[in-house]
């Protein structure tokens, strides 16, 4: 009975089908094949928990007067010739409002479009909140939708893989501790071509600054490390890098709202900071 009613409500779908260039991403195309309406419904209800939700989620939902004054904040909207489907409020309409209205009973195809909207057409930059007369946190709401997609696995493959790496190794790109320390020492030698006897201090206790690079830097952009070391030394800053897990500040979990990995990355950095008794954490951006 229950299954029949679920299918019934899916049949009558009348959602806005966007006519866009397809995004070929195995994270979307392959995952969506395994999804069913029941799975989606379970994920949506787990995240939204409609009725019992917290203020940051409910307040925008009950305040938004649909004025679309947020639209000119969005670079997606502006760069697509003011196409109304790229306006921030339109993205919320096509994803969150639709999911709430249908209580999560939506087709996998719809969910794929939702994932496309929240991952590929919004950067969660929060600029729309600065344009909203009510100051509504629109990005937070789209972030909630990202979380639904993450729980379903509907995430761009690249980000999902990096998040997996973070959850397994606390580094973005599967870097071992040996590789990391080795890269630091290698770059130390490189900088010594410019500055005599320069050091990249590893695990120096009581330093002023702990520098936390992105995983990309030791992996593919090592010259960033050399440049940072040069700057730190020329500026005379008492700095260090951590040798143990939690040196990588690339928090991909944050982008896909994988809160569990997100907080582990942050906790790792703070643990290192406490261990080394440093005064300030400096991140690469």
């Amino acid at each position: 009975m229950a299954e029949a009613s679920v299918k019934e409500s899916v049949k009558t779908e009348d959602w806005v089908r966007l006519n866009r260039k397809p995004v070929a991403d195995p994270g979307f195309d392959e995952t969506v094949k395994n999804l069913t309406t029941e799975k989606i419904e379970k994920a949506v209800n787990a995240v939204l928990n409609v009725g019992k939700n917290a203020a940051r989620f409910m307040a925008p939902l009950e305040t938004c007067i649909h004025c679309a004054l947020c639209s000119k904040a969005c670079h997606w909207y502006l760069s697509h010739n003011e196409d109304p489907t790229y306006a921030p409020v339109a993205k919320v309409k096509m994803t969150l409002w639709e999911l709430i209205k249908r209580k999560g009973k939506v087709s996998p195809e719809f969910m794929k479009q939702v994932a496309r909207i929240v991952f590929c057409e919004c950067n969660l930059c929060r600029r729309c909140s600065m344009y909203c007369p009510f100051g509504l946190d629109i990005a937070y709401q789209l972030g909630m939708v990202r979380r639904i997609c993450f729980i379903l696995g509907l995430v761009p493959q690249n980000i999902l893989d990096q998040t997996h790496s973070l959850s397994a190794t606390l580094t973005q790109l599967w870097i071992t501790q040996g590789d990391w320390i080795d890269t630091m020492q290698w770059q130390e030698e490189e900088v010594r071509g410019d500055i005599k006897n320069v050091r990249i201090p590893i695990d120096k206790e009581g330093a002023d600054v702990m520098w936390c690079p992105l995983g990309t830097e030791p992996k593919v952009a090592t010259y960033h490390i050399a440049r940072t070391a040069t700057i730190m030394n020329v500026a005379g800053i008492d700095w260090t890098v951590a040798s143990q897990d939690g040196w990588d500040s690339a928090n991909m979990g944050m982008f896909i709202r994988d809160m569990e990995t997100m907080q582990r990355v942050v906790r790792g950095i703070y643990n290192n900071a406490m261990r080394l008794k440093i005064k300030r954490i400096v991140l690469t951006e």
Binding site: A54, A55, R56, M58, A59, P60, E62, T63, C64, I65, H66, C67, A68, L69, S71, K72, A73, Y77, E82, P84, T85, A87, V89, A90, K93, S129, M130, Y131, C132, P133, F134, G135, L136, D137
Partner: protein
């Protein structure tokens, strides 16, 4: 057809109990909704600890002054319409002579009122603004895309008391008393619907602005 409206018992009802009900629902309901939202916010880990009175007031101030924020300047047409509209919507009923007379007759108190001519102009502004918002919902593509039936309902809720009040004052279209009764019904309807519809943005506005203002202020940024 509208004879039943002229029945004195109906007039007595809308003049007495209905207004009481409307105000009780409006004030009680609004306080309840806002209290619920504040309690809900206290449950969140990251809302209350970051709240700052200075940043909140700074943000609210920049958005209740016309053209004080970037978006008010970019959307200058909307700004020039929305500010007189909301001022008329909120303050005109409070300072209207006719409303004061009714209160004076009941309780013997009254306060400062605006002149009838000014009130008439403000009413026309509110009505014209409603028409503007209606047309904007119809023709501005980005607004039209996110417009639902209840958006028109909310607009109608704001529009009806003002158009009936205007017609009653000028004694056009319907007999004066009939129009006054309709005006009272629609006015009560507006008050009652505030806690139950998105018209609650009247109260939530200050909460959401305070949150975003504090959030941005904490990051040494600003949201106007």
């Amino acid at each position: 057809m509208l004879d039943f409206i002229r029945d004195p018992s109906l007039y007595n009802f809308v003049r007495g109990p209905l207004v009481w009900i409307a105000f009780l629902v409006f004030i009680g309901g609004s306080i309840y909704r806002i209290r619920e939202m504040v309690l809900l916010a206290k449950k969140e880990k990251v809302v209350v600890p970051y709240m700052s009175l200075r940043f909140s007031l700074r943000s609210i101030l920049h958005w209740i002054i016309p053209f004080a924020s970037v978006n008010w300047r970019i959307r200058w047409v909307v700004t020039t319409v929305t500010f007189p509209f909301h001022i008329g919507l909120v303050f005109l009923p409070i300072f209207l002579l006719a409303h004061n007379v009714l209160i004076y007759e009941s309780w013997g108190i009254s306060w400062w009122t605006v002149s009838e001519g000014f009130a008439d102009i403000m009413t026309i502004i509110v009505i014209a603004s409603c028409v503007f918002f209606f047309l904007r919902r119809l023709f501005a593509p980005e607004v039209r895309f996110v417009t639902f039936a209840d958006d028109y309902l909310i607009l109608a809720i704001a529009f009806l008391p003002f158009i009936t009040g205007f017609l009653a004052y000028h004694q056009w279209l319907l007999p004066h008393k009939t129009m006054v009764i309709l005006h009272m019904i629609f006015g009560s309807m507006m008050l009652i619907s505030i806690p139950f519809t998105r018209l609650i943005h009247m109260g939530y506005l200050f909460l959401t602005r305070a949150y975003m203002g504090s959030d941005q202020g904490y990051r040494h940024s600003r949201d106007w």
